[in-house]
Amino acid sequence: MSAEPAKRAAGAAKSAPPARKDASMEKQKAMLAGHFKALSTARETGRKVAYTFVPGNLTELLTAFDFLPVYPEINALQSGMRQKSADYIRDAERLGHSEDVCTYVKCDIGMMMQGNIGPTGEKLPPPDLLLLSYTGCFTFLKWFELLRNEYGCEIAMLHVPYLANGKITPEMRKYVADQLRREVIPKMEKITGKKLDLDLLAAKLKRSMKAEEDLVWVLESAKNRPSPIDAYFGSVYYVGPIFTAFRGSDACSEYYAELRAEVQGRLDRKEGPVTPDGTLARERHRLVVDGPPNWTHFRDFWRIFHDEGAVFVASSYTKVGGLYDRGFRHGNEEDPLLSLADYCLGCYTNLSLPARTNLLVDYVKEYRATGFLFNSIKSCNSFSAGQLVMLREVEKRTGIPGAFVETDLVDPRYYGHANVKNRIESYLQMLDQRGHG
């Protein structure tokens, strides 16, 4: 292991001034503030509210009805980052929720019990609709059953078939589109009292395409050396607008155009990614990662890597809300409902394990990664069940040894910093010794 001063020199300098907030970051912050303000006044303004999930989200459809979307897993991760999740989880467990189950669910239920105060400190309104897009995660189904018991509101189920054989079939597309026609859209029409404007939906989908193009460009900028972005810790911010309430809006397109220009600037200046401790000075390791990050210790977790000069050049987590880098675009299809079906079907956690493995292997090769990591999340079976087998498969097919750590989404009891740090540092040291660094 290199000495501590050397590591600091390799990574971001501790003495560097705090990272300057790029204009795109400020823009995203303003977009979120506006959205949560609109949510807090939804009852007064008469706007309808839909709770839904990030994977397989139907944002353009929701906003075509002027619904305000709420994403409970985003609220949960925000609670984790703001150190509120431990209390929320404790409250849910007191209600009888098992310590074994998804901590996003428990965090959300605990937050609801404590008044449903959102990340900006404003109260979130109850849902008029629970849009259960059952995409890639069984727990989503149970989660919204629990919420329906609490809120007693309308619920719309959209069953998205699993891509067990790695491909979308015409029957799957038809099944999803038919459900939209027969179940989801009629419920939205009933709640809002509006008919769906298909032209408006199609226009929103077309608008999404531009933002998606720019996002893909940003993600693929990590193919450069040094990478101007961190495609895991940094990119969870980059995917924020397109994974949530803003896809299909002008603001979303403007955000990604601005982000792209900023990343282009970093490329021109041959700068590494921005980290919480400043710009990464020297890229020593290029990593691919599978699994969501830990949110309760997000910066500490990130720091372990950038202290060692390790940059994530590709991640699967930033594809849970759409595999845009593999060619999908909203608006590719003339029939908007088929576009939405393709989108839902293609999200990362809806892929089979062989397809996920193929993607990770391709990422290692395409991004010239020197290592890869599985961050196995205790409470997320959709990601975690099978990761040990995938790890060995990726090792076999790339010839590169992988690392495996265990953390959790928002339960701080399952994040052991010293243990995780020790493992990762040992792994990176091993890569150095094997000449993979």
Binding site: G96, Y134, F138, L146, M157, H159, S379, S384, M390
Partner: protein, 392 residues
């Protein structure tokens, strides 16, 4: 010893042998007797076994290895915080115990069973692997059509493995045989609900479980023989409480746990063990389109289950109603550790029972749990409190 005791003992001894034979000798024997025809394993909870049968295959239920083997290779595939059934299933696969199977069907039970289908694809590249996406939308025009098409595709694939594309008459015959089987199992469960001292929890479990490997007609006969003999049993009712056991629909508890519960002062009058065998309530009416009928039965005649979207039916209310119908004194929530469907359902189910004034307790297990003392004390206290004071 009553006159029926040797007959019952023989049936139960056979069921126990089948349960303990992890190498699936019965399946190998069937294959020898039916050269060229496939044996297809399937994971819990529900797979329409009559469809596999109609396609000329032997449906073989897989439910892990219980407490019968040490897990070595399976543990290398799963983290400690994932339930036990996939690791013992992988262990069986990697140690060659499942070699007699020509393929496996993985139903959409939960994320772990779903992902196990991917592990199977990666670990056993030459084997037939099929994920069965049971619809969570129960509209016949959407979920029904999608599912029917999927079943037709499954039949076609099995035909390619040595099975057949059944005629309507052949498919109807399969439906008829499985209707008879479900009737026999309903009789078994009715006997236990009415006179649980004549049929213990572990006996009902073993007799049902024999259907995982036996040809359906043979299993039906076995169940009928058991029920007939059990009814003639000379056993007296004991002073125990009547309980339902809920949450054990996928990973099965060890038999020792079932016996412990009953030795602690409980009669188990209903449970969701081996639930897939009893998934469809009532008969499937095959009509002239038997595959469509099987698909329709899933939409309209499924039991309430934690793995199936709740839709308009409320599980808590259904559970409370069922408990009252069965005159259950209490409900025991027995879920496998890390079982998302069972554990996520527990709070609302418990709330509904509390509202209905039905006492309940809960504990977790793994299929290889070996220590039952804690469960014995918990169940014993539950039983005593109900017997003494009428409520836990």
């Amino acid at each position: 010893m009553s006159a029926t005791q040797p007959e019952l003992e023989a049936i139960l001894a056979r069921c126990e042998r089948l349960y303990g034979d992890l190498s699936l000798g019965e399946v190998s024997a069937w294959k020898k007797a039916h050269p060229g025809r496939p044996a297809i394993g399937h994971l819990p909870v529900y797979v329409p076994r009559e469809i596999l049968h109609a396609a000329g295959a032997l449906p073989v239920g897989l439910a892990g290895a219980g407490d019968q083997i040490d897990i070595v290779k399976g543990d290398a595939c799963y983290q400690s915080y994932i339930c036990h059934i996939p690791r013992s299933t992988v262990e069986l696969g990697l140690t060659g115990e499942l070699d007699c199977l020509d393929g496996c069907v993985f139903p959409s039970t939960c994320d772990v069973i779903r992902n196990l289908s991917g592990i199977w694809q990666l670990q056993f590249p030459g084997k037939y692997v099929r994920f069965l996406d049971l619809p969570q939308t129960f509209d016949p025009e959407t979920g029904g059509k999608f599912y029917q098409r999927d079943l037709e595709e499954l039949i076609h694939e099995l035909a390619g493995l040595g099975g057949r594309e059944p005629t309507a008459a052949e498919a109807c015959e399969s439906v008829r045989l499985f209707n008879e089987n479900r009737r026999a199992l309903r009789a078994l469960y009715a006997l236990r609900a009415e006179s649980p001292w004549l049929c213990s929890c572990d006996e009902a479990f073993l007799v049902t479980r024999a259907g995982f490997v036996l040809d359906v007609a043979e299993h039906t006969r076995l169940v009928e023989q058991f029920v007939a003999a059990a009814k003639r049993r000379d056993k007296k009712k004991e002073d125990r409480i009547r309980v339902m056991v809920i949450g054990s629909f996928c990973e099965q508890p060890p038999i020792g746990l079932m016996r412990t519960l009953e030795r602690s002062g409980c009669y188990v009058v209903d449970d969701d063990l081996n639930l897939g065998m009893r998934w469809i309530e009532g008969d499937v009416e095959p009509g002239c389109e038997p595959v469509a009928a099987v698909a329709h039965a899933y939409l309209t005649q499924s039991v309430w289950a934690s793995t199936r979207y709740e839709d308009t039916r409320r599980r808590g209310e259904l559970l409370a109603r069922r408990a009252k119908e069965l005159r259950a004194d209490g409900v025991v929530f027995a879920a496998a550790s890390f079982c998302d469907p069972a554990l996520l359902d527990q709070p609302p189910l418990q709330k509904a029972l509390t509202a209905a004034g039905i006492p309940h307790i809960s504990f977790k297990y793994a299929e290889n749990t070996g220590q039952f003392q804690g469960i014995r004390e918990q169940a014993g206290t539950f039983s005593d409190s109900i017997k003494l004071w009428g409520a836990a």
